[in-house]
Symmetry: C2
Subunit: 443 residues, 2 copies
């Protein structure tokens, strides 16, 4: 026997129903919901991305539904496609069941109701039963949409000549200096789980000029908040030969435009089902950190408690300001104080108290941190020493600078956080398939 | 100020040289190599994916090369594109340097020579200096090619309606029963690093029907061989509603055809530079495990020591057999003995000593394990009990089966191993950017 790799479509998907109107076809899917009426029944079949309404009635065929036909059975259903006209004049297709062939049988009924419009239990129960609750069309749509966000990021960057990298997650040192890292015994050595691909993406800028990675990162933070996860997906990029750190913000803006457009077109099903308001991006306004503080104090009469960073309320106000002043869902805040940014951030030569860095706020919430990095060896060593760090401990990291690095910078976007804000959800766990937090590592 | 996201190309890449012949243009890149001749110099500039030959001579311009122009400087070079005709009649372009503007300066010369055709040091030194050695055009081509393999896998599966998933790497239990897993302290709880996305990809088959993931997996194996890594990239897929396990092999064959074609077209630079012999796939022959054993004994007079598995020499011989008998670089071996396959593998109903599983050999080396999984709850529980496992410990895993799963199966491909065999390399570390093995976690 030999395998040809020719993939044959043996069944019909809902998208093809129009073509086969009034014909008899076979579909495959899971029996999602059975609603018995007086003399007929609706059998809703769940396929990969849709639900299909099938109708059972003794009128149509000699097939008789058995007791075995239950919700969550996998099935092959043959029937005739018929069209009904909806209120708005559009056609909606259903399948008049001629035959049902069961392919598998559940052993029990689901512990949580998944057939309603949404899963109506508390978040914790929802997460406990993820392998089941994700079967709900709205729940799974969230992560299909998330696929689209990551896909858009990747597609856009590949079109821009970026190389996709896959850096190791078992690291010999914590990238950002050693706090909040998970420690691991590695054949008797102590090693760490990667907090970010920072070291690697910077090293690879000297190899491929522009690189990106979409991969898990691990943070041993003790926070138990609605916006923190201990494992999350970071979408990172790093680009060399930049003229200024605006090149990085420009690349991100291009990526976000591309992503939002992709979601509108290729993920329309999910966008509609989740009632997502996709932001329109023409351009993204920028404000310097100190300008933003001034606006908060003068326009919003807000008295900041910390002049080195923003608290969540300040971010909210800046989001409102962006919407009102610029009609933008996004705003870049630039030139953060040097004290609050990592050691590899380039200080602003015009005012070294501040940095060539930025955060991006989306509807008043931070989704990105980025900036230009120090590329000169002596400058990086001096900055480390000023911060009380020992450059010798960073010899591997400093290989990049010592043997020559182009001017470069980059950023990281938390995939779950961006998904959460798009959804308008209140808890990042709603936008995480299998969240890991201080209390949860299962399922 | 506002950021538009419009990306402007300020420089010219080698691909555009033909268009700009005899014009003055500006390129950006790293000075890879300087070769001084009697009255002129070659300055080889490394860009993201190519090297460009530039020529310096006092003839061309009033610019005078300074002492500062060194290898591994990032630079912006302006000059005139001129064409030379090569032996085979094709044109080759070079840049007559009018001006060099340095963008960065290395602090030291590389510890390993990277300007030769290949990095001529032992593998261990090469790996120690990865941030530098990867700058060598041949070294970096390996991982550009690797990008192409993963990209091909993904693109093909997305065209086939698969959903991309990102399962958590911090797990509450080892997927395959708890051996060879890295243990981790997680806020006082003992957890594990994912050995495979098995649990999650199976669970998600009941959600999205067809799913795939390309992500790191972690194996705490004590092996120190040329083919084992403790962290590697696994390309996994899992598909539901299969008619038989041949559907899985067929999907893999389709994916491999797509990948090889993509490499030939979009990664031609790298394929040529690395002298890679891309396999031609029309169809892939299959042999049952016991048929293969018989061929080994009868045709090759090889006396197997283990009738439940193959040793590396047997795999080599089967590779030769596939080439000679079927002119194929690949061969599927199917129906492995039940005793050697994981607990979730479906036994062959016609002969339960064997399984509906397969390995794929590529030029005599295993690159894939796959098969159909048990989808029925009672069948899986019974199989676990027969194997001495406690189903209660797998309650989360068994949610899939208990609440209904379609017939399904899948596979995993080791990305670095596949890359290694394509290269014809002897050690998997040559095909790993930053390998983790029992002795190495750095850089």
């Amino acid at each position: 026997m030999a395998i040809t790799g020719e993939i044959e479509n043996k069944t019909v998907s809902y998208a093809d129903f129009e073509k086969y109107e009034n014909e008899v076809v076979t579909i495959k899917g899971t029996i999602h919901n059975i609603r018995m009426m007086s003399d007929f029944a609706f059998v809703i079949v769940r396929t990969a991305r849709e639900t299909i309404q099938c109708v059972y009635s003794e009128e149509f065929s000699s097939y008789r539904m058995s007791e075995d036909v239950k919700e969550e059975c996998a099935a092959k259903i043959t029937g005739k496609i018929v069209a009904g006209v909806q209120k708005d004049g559009s056609k909606r297709y259903e399948l008049q069941i001629h035959d049902i062939q069961l392919l598998s049988h559940p052993a029990d009924i689901p512990p949580v109701v998944i057939t309603k419009k949404q899963v109506n239990c508390d978040l914790s129960t929802n997460l406990d039963y993820r392998p089941v609750t994700l079967r709900n069309p709205k729940e799974r749509a969230i992560f299909k949409l998330q696929e689209g966000i990551a896909r858009g990021f990747r597609e856009f960057l590949m079109k821009q000549g970026f190389t996709e990298i896959r850096s190791p997650k078992i690291n010999f040192a914590g990238a950002e200096g050693g706090t909040n890292v998970f420690k691991l015994d590695y054949f008797g050595k102590q090693v760490y789980l990667a907090q970010s691909p920072q070291l690697y993406k910077q090293a690879l800028v000297a190899v491929y000029e522009k690189v990106f990675e979409i991969a898990p990162v691990f943070r041993a933070e003790h926070h138990d908040t609605s916006r923190h996860l201990n494992e999350y997906i970071s979408m990172d990029f790093e680009m060399g030969f930049i003229d200024s750190f605006e090149d990085i913000m420009n690349m991100e803006t291009g990526a976000l435009k591309y992503i939002m457009n992709l979601l509108k077109i290729e993920y329309k099903n999910e966008v509609d089902l989740l009632h997502i308001d996709i932001p329109e991006i023409t351009e993204i306004p920028t404000l310097k950190f100190m300008e933003a503080k001034e606006i908060l104090m003068k326009k919003f009469k807000y008295q900041p408690t910390d002049m080195k960073d923003f608290d969540p309320e300040e971010e909210q106000l800046l989001g409102k300001y962006a919407k009102k002043q610029f009609n933008s869902d996004f705003i870049f805040i630039t030139h953060y104080p040097s004290k609050k940014r990592p050691f590899y951030t380039m200080d602003d030569p015009e005012d070294p108290e501040y940095t060539l860095s930025f955060d991006l706020l989306f509807r008043g919430l931070e989704i990105t941190s980025g900036g230009q990095r120090v590329h000169d060896y002596n400058e990086q060593v001096a900055k480390m020493q000023k911060l009380g760090m020992n450059p010798e401990e960073f010899a591997t990291y400093l290989m990049l600078h010592k043997y020559g690095a182009p001017p470069h910078g980059g950023l990281g976007i938390g995939l779950e956080r961006l998904t959460m804000h798009l959804l308008g959800a209140k808890n990042v766990r709603e936008a995480t398939m299998f969240p890991r937090d201080i209390n949860r590592v299962s399922p």
